[in-house]
Amino acid sequence: MIAEFGLAALWLAAALAALQLVAGALALTPRGAALGAIVRPVAMVQGVLVAVSFAALVLLFARTDLSVELVAANSHSMKPMIYKISGTWGNHEGSMLLWVMVMGLSGSFVAAVERRLPEPTMLATLAGQAFVSLGFYAFLLLSSNPFTRLSSPAIEGAGLNPLLQDPGLAFHPPPLYIGYVGLSVAFSFAIGALITREVGPAFARAMRPWVLGAWIFLTLGITAGSYWAYYELGWGGWWFWDPVENASLMPWLAATALLHSVSVLAARNALRAWTVMLGVVAFSMSMVGTFLVRSGILTSVHAFAVDPERGSFILGLLALNIGGALVLFGLRASSVTEGERFSATSREGALVFNNVMLSAILGIVLVGTLYPLLAESLGAKVSVGPPYFNPVGAIFAVPMLLVLAVGPLLRWRRDSLSRIKLQIAVPAVLLVGTLLWAASQSVGVLPALGLALSAALAIASLLPLRGRKLRQVKLPVWGMVTAHFGIAVALLGMASDAAFTTERLVAVRPGDVVEVGPWKVQLQRIEPVAGPNWTALRGDLAVSYKGGAITELHPAARTFWAPANETNEAALKTRWNGQLYAVLGQQADGGRWQLRLWWKPFVPMIWYGGILIALGGLLALFGRLASDLKRLVARDKIAYRRARQGR
């Protein structure tokens, strides 16, 4: 019954989305204005229904109901409960239902709380949200139904890919999806504002918290995903330029640009058309990412299944949504009036520069991700990796980070560099000094640039606080400072990993001692261990840092039996100044075991930096919401006073 109930809820939600679209569109015409009243409630109920449908699927997975095809194909009764539940979205259909649920819930959230937009823009926004949702409902119901029953229940499930049986999986896709799909709100806002031609500071202030919210989740999702790949794949890397990673990076780049341009629009009423365009681009990148991943057109760890029919369906949706939005933009862009002017050396100028550089990086990632498809259609099989992405991306990232150090110190509208030259002298000296030092240490070009920029940016990002009373600094400024400082921290981790990692690859007998960087590692024994659905060979390592206290590490090679597969469980020892990373390989002749060890100085800074960046977003979000709330309360008070005086 649960499956049928979930399916019915899903169909109902789709019907309500259709109603939301039609009512919202008609309400914008003079004769249909009365319909406007039902749009918000419909949007809210739609969100609840799709959440109910998702909950039904989670319940089916938790109970391992093997009469449902999806459960039988992806779950197993012996799996621990946490992986039964996270298995809900560890497959194509379930992850698309998660996608649609986030979309429905963010639509209903907007309908429930957003009161700052003019009513027609609000209606157009909700209609836009319904339009996009409807396409994905159709996709889910017509080609990826998660609730299909088997004609006779399976005896046992096929299990979940062991790579995905890790707490990381449970935590990283949901925030990623909230971020990814949360950007649909920005998309719908942009559509709504284009339809009603209401692009201005008020629109930007209303849109900003939604963009910020999605961006925070996206940042956390990418950070968590990167860490998950780092320790689960056992390759010692934290970013592989895998198409799926790129698919999450591209919306993040667009959303980061949007976040900054929407601030210009809110504060200075400039960059109107550009901001709307970025709103369209950001969610378009989410959809492109979904297409790349879910169509199976590119191979990656994350691609679930190859199905050309699904690919063409998503491609059609993509063309309809992005093409429609771009046509609307083309029709209306000329009527979006020009914003305020500013000189090149100003806060706006720096933000424009940052936006253009972010867009260029986005373009480079997009081209590099799509190139293998293009090449294949021409008959050549190629893959594109770090030798392309790292240097080409850096060409635009380096100037962007330089301007990022200076931009927050500039005034709005017009400023001169000579006013702030004393302030930027310190980071500039640090930049050159670190570069010279790195050159003397024969560090590679890119890591050296990274270290130098990180040092300069760490200082420069704090400068906006200089000479201010810290208790009076507003939350959004704290947010900016925290996020920019977080970039410096993450950059330190990335550059340090590239510059200073030491690696040992050896075959050792129990008792042998290996040195890697400042660590001494002794293999004590290899022993078999068993888990709920796997057995493993586990290495017991005794490790000590610079001859200090001995701790144990347990890298293992696990063998799963449902489905039959093997994974390498890396073992990590984290210190404040880096991480020791150990992987157990295979048995070599003479009773030896392969052991791969890395000492990675400061590598955890990558993820601490990511968390700081997200925290900065959170501070800014709270600051904005608090001041909006204050404004609302003040407005109500005035209205109340007026009403009393009038009486």
Partner: protein, 153 residues
């Protein structure tokens, strides 16, 4: 550095132009870099007939020849032969191979051709599981390999 405030129309135009130039620049740069940095996929037959220049990152995919995997004395360097029905390429690799890397099954080696014609792999991928097969290996039956060679000619 201060630019005198321009007329509104002009500023918009200049901004649009700058953005356009930067994006086109990025596109051109990307195209140029891709030509030199994309790593091409080779079947053993292609590799033998038309070897990639030494030192260039490429990928080599085929079957691991039966009886060809040999481990060196250090216990972590292995050599093996990747072959199809037309050619065989000796490969060396220092590292931990995936568990599913076995003789007689498909594998993709990422690395560079050495001046002596052998292939030094930086990374070896094996058929991982049903859901993650390196793209080129899905059609790695002999018949399809032959077709792929036909196509790439």
């Amino acid at each position: 550095m201060t630019i005198t405030p321009m007329k509104a129309k002009h500023q918009r135009l200049v901004l649009a132009l700058i953005a356009l130039v930067a994006l086109i620049g990025a596109g051109v740069l990307a195209a140029w870099a891709l030509r030199s940095q994309a790593s091409f996929f080779y079947l053993p037959a292609d590799y033998a007939a038309n070897p990639p220049e030494a030192g260039r990152a490429v990928r080599l995919g085929g079957m691991v020849e039966k009886g060809s995997i040999k481990t060196a004395a250090d216990g972590v360097t292995i050599s093996f032969v990747i072959h199809d029905d037309k050619a065989r390429v000796p490969v060396t690799f220092r590292g931990i191979v995936p568990d599913l890397f076995v003789e007689g099954s498909g594998a993709v080696a990422e690395g560079r051709r050495q001046p002596d014609g052998t292939f030094r792999a930086d990374n070896v991928l094996a058929k991982h599981d049903e859901n993650y097969v390196p793209r080129e290996m899905k059609d790695m039956t002999t018949e399809q390999a032959r077709q792929a060679i036909e196509e790439t000619k």
